[in-house]
């Protein structure tokens, strides 16, 4: 136990008993407490049916659990099942973890399950979900861009007197467009920055008070979503710019001046 970096609060399972110790993350994720029993005796989808009693909580870098080897080997329920529950815990000497993992991966008779493999398997299982999430993100961005375009129409209508009088005074349409784009760029960038700060604050709060207590660990700061969201101000500016460009192109200042006159 010392070499794994794991510590146990409570005690280890007694031989030939249905007692287990579970990692604190799994305890949190399932809402378990020490002394509690979990599992049911008959479950055709479960390769490890039965009821287990939690007698200790593991803490440390590797999320795992321990059961009694004698119990798992002798209980009739597990006689015909492949011993999927049986693992060999291999602990590297200090500073030689990478070397050990590389060696274990060369074995033909065993499957090494290290952190990198775990991440690989999780990522593989989420590959399709990521594609779906990206498609949804692109669609969301288009919706946001459309909304920005519509908002720009309203914004243009509200400022039409100003644009008309500036055109009459001799401002060129290009200069007016640059002014509007400049304003949009400042607003979009500041809004994006404020949005990121708010999102990180909300994520941190969720992480602390909702996710982590349930054993769900996700990084609060992640470069990919932040970089992806960085496209939003550009898309917003592009749509806003195109909208204003089209409206400015057809604007006759005299029509506005005569109407308001």
């Amino acid at each position: 136990m010392d070499r794994t970096g794991l510590t146990v609060a409570g005690r280890l399972p007694a031989p030939e008993s249905n007692e287990v110790v579970m990692h604190e993350w799994l305890m949190a994720a399932n809402g378990w407490t020490v002394g509690q029993e979990f599992g049911i005796d008959v479950n055709e989808d479960d390769w490890m049916p039965g009821r287990f009693k939690i007698v200790g909580v593991l803490s440390g870098p590797a999320p795992m659990g321990f059961a009694s080897h004698e119990f798992m080997s002798n209980d009739a329920r597990y006689s015909f099942a492949p011993k999927l529950w049986e693992r060999l815990l291999v602990v590297a000497k200090p500073g030689r973890e990478a070397e050990m993992n590389a060696f274990l991966r060369t074995l033909k008779t065993a499957k090494a399950f290290d952190e990198a493999r775990a991440i690989e398997e999780v990522e593989e299982s989420f590959e399709n979900i990521e594609v779906v999430a990206q498609v949804i993100s692109v669609l969301l961005m288009l919706v946001v861009a459309l909304v920005v375009g519509l908002l720009n129409n309203i914004f243009f209508a509200q400022r039409i007197d100003e644009f008309a009088v500036l055109l009459a005074l001799g401002w060129r349409r290009g200069r007016l467009l640059r002014k509007v784009l400049g304003e949009s760029a400042v607003i979009a960038t500041v809004s994006w920055g404020v949005g990121i700060i708010w999102s990180l604050a909300i994520m941190a709060a969720l992480d602390r008070w909702v996710l982590a207590p349930r054993g769900i660990f996700i990084p609060v700061v992640h470069a990919v979503p932040i970089a992806f969201s960085g496209l939003l101000p550009f898309v917003a500016m592009l749509f806003g710019g195109v909208t204003v460009f089209r409206r400015l192109g057809g604007l006759d200042p005299i029509v506005i001046i005569e109407r308001r006159g």
Binding site: D161, E162, A164, V165, L166, L167, A168, L169, G170, W171, R172, R173, G174, P253, I254, I257, E258, R260, G261
Partner: protein, 212 residues
């Protein structure tokens, strides 16, 4: 300095063609104060917009210092308006989120001292840092006048500049315009002839033509 020959501005109203300006010719000298009067719909505002390059005529030509405005591109006409012309409209059309000083600078960014001086001379120096909604209509119109003359234009076009003002404010606004546009020609369109006292010429319009 500014001349127009046989200007026509027509627009379609259903099947009929309406002539807002119908064959007008006029010539204005440097520093001349010209008043244009006439009833509503007589074409006086349309003529002003044609002379200022804000609209293009259906036919005829406008020339400013021997250059045909009517042959210029939209950008060239915009540049001409910005450098040589000043405008005062019936509605001051100040930009709501800019102060009086900033509104004046919208016509000439590089003239902050002159903008401040003009606002002072026009009696609205105390409004320099005020926004339009914090000023009276008379004060706003004076700020609009400062904006029209801040860049020392060759011609100032004023379209019903006193229509929204009471008598004393109207006289004050015209006096301001005359004094501060004195370096160039001044066109004032109005249906109130009394504000044109002291003008060099008064042109009367009806049905798109000058009355003879």
């Amino acid at each position: 300095m500014l001349s127009a020959s046989d200007l026509k501005l027509e627009y379609r109203d259903g099947a009929a063609m309406i002539a807002a300006v119908d064959g007008v010719s006029v010539s204005v000298r440097e520093r001349e104060f010209v008043g244009i009067v006439g009833p509503s719909g007589s074409g006086k505002s349309s003529l002003l917009y044609l002379l200022a390059g804000l609209k293009l005529p259906t036919s005829g030509a406008v020339r400013f210092r021997d250059k045909a405005i009517t042959g210029m591109s939209a950008d060239q006409r915009a540049a001409l308006r910005q450098q040589q012309f000043g405008f005062v409209f019936q509605n001051p059309f100040l930009i709501g989120y800019l102060t009086a000083q900033e509104n004046v600078l919208a016509a000439a960014l590089d003239e902050p001292d002159r903008a401040a001086q003009l606002l002072g001379e026009l009696g609205v120096g105390h409004c320099r840092e005020k926004f339009p909604h914090q000023m009276s209509m008379g004060e706003r119109q004076r700020v609009a006048i400062a904006r029209a003359v801040v860049h020392r234009p060759a011609v100032v076009f004023a379209d019903e500049p006193t229509a929204a003002l009471d008598r004393s404010n109207a006289d004050g606004a015209i006096e301001c315009l005359r004094r501060h546009a004195s370096g160039g020609a001044l066109f004032v369109v109005t249906h109130d002839e009394s504000i044109l006292r002291g003008s060099d010429r008064i042109l009367r319009m009806s049905a798109g033509r000058f009355d003879v």
